[in-house]
Symmetry: C2
Subunit: 218 residues, 2 copies
DNA sequence: CCTTCTTTCGGACGAACGCTCGAACACCCG
DNA sequence: CGGGTGTTCGAGCGTTCGTCCGAAAGAAGG
């Protein structure tokens, strides 16, 4: 029976959101509890009334943020069966959420490795579920004889989607709706491309491989 | 006149490479100089004979690593004029280098924000140069009337390429040559797709937008 | 053997970190 | 008004961090 504590919830939300902004800017280990204390106006020890360790604070940010992404996605996908439309919904959902919650999503994407133990496992479980939803859609969408590895395709798409915290500025770049169409176009046209039409391109001009792996080895 | 000091260079190289592995695993601020001392066998203060601050060490890793990527790319592109082949060379170069130097490349991609001041600017200058080479290729390749924003396309490609440190395991996944072909296929077929063939897809089924941005706002 | 230059290291400094404790405050129900 | 519960905080604990200093060990040539 979760009690009603609106004041408590509001303050926790302020702390989580402020902490997310600071961690997004400075990185998890460089952002100190004292920074968060200063930014929220809550005393150092007062903060520990709301979380019991810095690790738990990071978990709260990530879990809360990712939970909303997943909930919204599942709600939007409900009743939609066409794989192509399902993929467009996933892309749109991901990018819209990213652009509306850049700080939290940067923490989710960038500080994945800063979580440990139980906390890490809980968030990873959600990520696996998300990746499976995506892989299922791609499996249904995949043209017969496609040369593209499914795992590579899934994570290539995630790369496109998650990298945007490194470059996208909602006010300087094209609006998020246009970005979602661009990414949808790029990925879908690539993933659905006729496999047969490729052969001639790949057999000709093998120049990139001529150098061999020797340059890269030490 | 740079003197010959093979012993010095070899030890510096050992330090840089070992440090890269530790930083890749634990993150820059969590990896301590004492960790690097332990792993290299060089004493704590002895390390400071080879770099003058932890920040400079991070810079050495990133600058040296990215320098090799750029040098190799420019060498491979020499004399090649066909934009499609140039792009395949860039993708192959990037991925091959990534898979052969996973630790250093993870540090380069993931710890970009840990650099400050002069060091940050020096590395960012190289990154801008790299992004411009890529954008130039895409500009030459772009089909007339393409709906895709050039900046979005460039960074979508970088997202595909740089995200791999989050999932790719050279021994468990498909070989890097096959991965390069997959990424090349996905991106090129998507980027070169006939713009006209798309309209019908985009006007139908606007479901993803029905929810509106209100869910995402707070 | 002595000199000079490079390379190495034990030990320590001050600063910043995450976190805790016990006391004090604020509010509500009786 | 009194007492209980939820909330806040100043002060400080123990630890780890990046960095520095002065001395000494090794290599090389005269």
């Amino acid at each position: 029976m979760p009690e009603e504590r609106p004041a408590y919830d509001a303050k926790l939300d302020l702390i989580v959101r402020t902490a997310a902004a600071i961690i997004a800017d400075k990185g998890f280990h460089r952002a100190s509890i004292r920074d968060i204390s200063r930014a929220t106006g809550v005393s150092l020890s007062g903060l520990y009334y709301y979380f019991k360790s810095k690790d738990e604070l990071l978990f709260l940010i990530q879990d809360h943020c990712f939970g909303r992404v997943l909930d919204n996605l599942e709600r939007l996908l409900e009743g939609v069966t066409d794989p192509e439309e399902r993929l467009r919904i996933l892309i749109g959902n991901h990018l819209r959420f990213f652009s509306a919650n850049m700080k939290e999503m940067k923490v989710l994407s960038h500080e994945a490795g800063s979580l440990t133990g139980e906390y890490r496992e809980r968030v990873n479980a959600k990520k696996r579920r998300y990746a499976e939803v995506c892989a299922d859609i791609l499996r249904a969408l995949r043209p017969a004889g496609s040369p593209v590895d499914l795992r590579a395709a899934t994570f290539s798409l995630f790369g496109m989607l998650n990298w945007i915290y490194n470059w996208y500025h909602p006010d300087r770049d094209e609006p998020v709706e246009a970005l979602a169409e661009d990414v949808g176009h790029l990925f879908l046209r690539g993933f659905l491309a006729d496999p047969e039409a490729d052969r001639k391109v790949f057999v000709a001009g093998g120049a990139p491989d001529d150098a061999g792996p020797s340059i890269w080895s030490r």
